[in-house]
Amino acid sequence: MSDEAETPTEATAAPEPETLHGCPVTWSAGQQVLHVPRERYSEVMLALAGEGFDLCSDLCAVDYAGSSSRSLPDGISAERFEVVVNLTSMRHRRRVRVRVQVPDADPVVPSLFAVWPGTEAMEREAWDMLGVAFDGHPDLTRILMPDDWEGHPLRKDYPVGRVPVQFKATARAAADRSGTKGA
């Protein structure tokens, strides 16, 4: 909690702090969001699974580097990465979103593979794209990029990799234009 986050955390100023499994709850556009500390992640997720959230719809990670607009409830300090899990309860027709703060220095969270095996590919994607590792994942390798790729493309400090749009002349045409003899 003593982490010097560059982003000021702003309390949602709810009159009665709502909690679920001991974790603060916020509402975003009518959707329930659960903010889970990393050390309680596995335990809370297992509890949610037991509560009837049987379908893990989505798991992704977000790189908040350079963002100053995030609002988090009291007691949750902002970190660079966030792992976002969207769970669905097919029986209760309910959804909940879980957000976990993951520090840049140690970007590791426990894997949910044992609870929802469907997160296998999603966690690999989060690792590939943002470099958040999942402890206990059976096969944490790159999934979308080639195996020997360097860097994690969806990180904010990774450039888009744009090639300047101009007519890319062939070497010969460029040589012709500059007046020298063709290569």
Partner: protein, 443 residues
């Protein structure tokens, strides 16, 4: 982190797969171990499950794809074979990774639907729809009813065209080549209507935050009615051609069986989940837009095999026709896009007479509109399952993070489970029955 892999140098490059000991537990966990965590699932431990496999040196690893005619694009599947039986398999994806989520962070909200529509290129309207809904929820704006109904109409027609394409390719993959011709013939009817409405056969960029790009053309009701009237009797022809045909049944029934527990555990949605008997359709179970005002049935299967998935999609076309017929009676008059001046550009005539309109127009197309900070996850039912859009805004005119929960991506995880223990010849029918769109998988 990376497990030691066994590799072999071949003329086609290095082929590698994790050694069996390293993945077997994971494979088992994925198939059975996961199920035991579910509250009512059967309790099985990995140790109880014995698979009869040949020794390490007696199996063969073959590579299917990424350039293979029946892998629906650029899917690559590595399969370990014992004779003709698939022992293990692993889908390798990423050959169509387009970096769309990165590009989305670079485009304004108003440009975003150009980007997302190219993800699932068989169900373009669904991508645009889910993206627009997410942006609108963050903006807190209401879309005029006519725009929403138009969106639903186009989405249901798109579901028909997507499933018709599945009929065509599924038929082709299992050897019914004539089905290929018929499926495309019917699909062209729908595409001609799309071209009339949006100007393009695919990648429409028509549904945009705030509404739709243009109103429906004159005479659209008759066009849609005619499409429905033409396609409906032809579906009965498909029934004769495929559903009741013994060869097709032999080829697909009992092939690629999935249990409901496995399907839920592996996050499968859409026809794959419904084929196992789980009644789950977001249109009915968590209605969005105006689906709660419409009458339709959720088609479910019983056996969870490739034939069920085919039958579900065939009957979903019928349900979509039913929906489309209801929708065309219900589309109200009014605006086709929101009249919020901060989101919708002013009409052309206003620009000539109003300085303010000109400024709005200029600002909208150079800076875009700002979306309040926040995050939202919007799911809809696409032809392939739950299509979700997780959108994070930091208050600027560009998304901070756009993540698409692609149904094909999650559904593809069921492939190793379905292939396991089956014959190599069935692999084509199984891959086809998942109906993966690689643009959706890799994004």
């Amino acid at each position: 982190m990376r497990s030691r892999t066994a590799s072999a140098e071949t003329s086609e490059g290095r082929q590698e797969m994790a050694p069996r000991g390293a993945t077997e537990r994971a494979e088992l966990l994925r198939e059975e171990g996961a199920v035991l965590r579910l509250p009512e699932g059967p309790t099985l431990s990995p140790q109880d499950v014995a698979i009869e496999v040949a020794g390490e040196g007696e199996t063969m690893i073959i590579n299917m794809g990424p350039q293979h005619p029946s892998t629906h694009g650029v899917l690559r599947v590595m399969m370990e074979l014992d004779g003709e039986t698939v022992v293990r398999s692993k889908p390798v994806i990423g050959y169509l990774h387009t970096g769309m989520e990165k590009t989305a962070e670079d485009l304004m909200y108003i440009q975003g639907s150009t980007n997302v529509t190219r993800m699932d290129y068989l169900a373009n309207f669904f991508n645009e729809n889910v993206y627009s809904m997410a942006v609108e929820q963050l903006l807190g704006i209401e879309v005029p009813p006519r725009a929403t109904w138009i969106r639903m109409l186009l989405c249901e027609l798109n579901r028909m065209s997507s499933h018709l394409l599945f009929m065509a390719t599924n038929g082709m993959d299992v050897g019914a080549l004539s089905m290929m011709i018929y499926g495309w013939r019917e699909r062209e009817l729908v595409l001609a209507f799309f071209e009339k409405v949006t100007g393009l056969r695919m990648n429409h960029n028509f549904i945009r935050p705030g509404g739709v790009a243009a109103d429906l053309p004159a005479g659209w009701r008759d066009d849609v009615k005619q499409i429905c009237n033409l396609i409906e009797p032809r579906l009965d022809e498909y029934d004769e051609l495929l559903t009741g045909q013994p060869i097709f049944q032999e080829r697909t029934q009992g092939v690629g069986v999935l249990t409901p527990e496995q399907a839920v555990a592996l996050s499968a949605t859409g026809p794959i989940l419904r084929s196992t008997g789980v009644e789950w359709d977001l249109r009915r179970d968590m209605p969005y837009q105006y689906y709660d005002q419409l009458e339709f049935d959720v088609i479910v299967g019983q056996y969870g095999d490739a034939f069920d998935r085919y039958a579900i999609r065939l009957n979903e076309i019928r349900e979509s026709i039913k929906l489309v017929r209801q929708i065309i009676e219900l589309v109200p008059g009014g605006d086709y896009r929101t009249q919020d001046k901060k989101v919708t550009p002013p009409p052309r005539a206003r620009i000539d007479e109003s300085m303010e309109a000109l400024i709005h127009h200029f600002k909208l197309f150079t800076e875009g509109f700002r979306v309040p900070a926040g995050e939202v996850y919007v799911p809809i039912e696409s032809p392939r399952g739950e299509l979700g859009c997780y959108l994070v805004s930091d208050g600027s005119a560009k998304p901070f993070r756009l993540h698409i929960r692609a149904p094909s991506f999650a559904n593809l995880q069921t492939l190793p489970v379905m292939l396991r223990g089956g014959l190599i010849a069935d692999a084509v029918a199984i891959i086809s029955s998942i109906d993966p769109v690689m643009g959706d998988v890799d994004r």
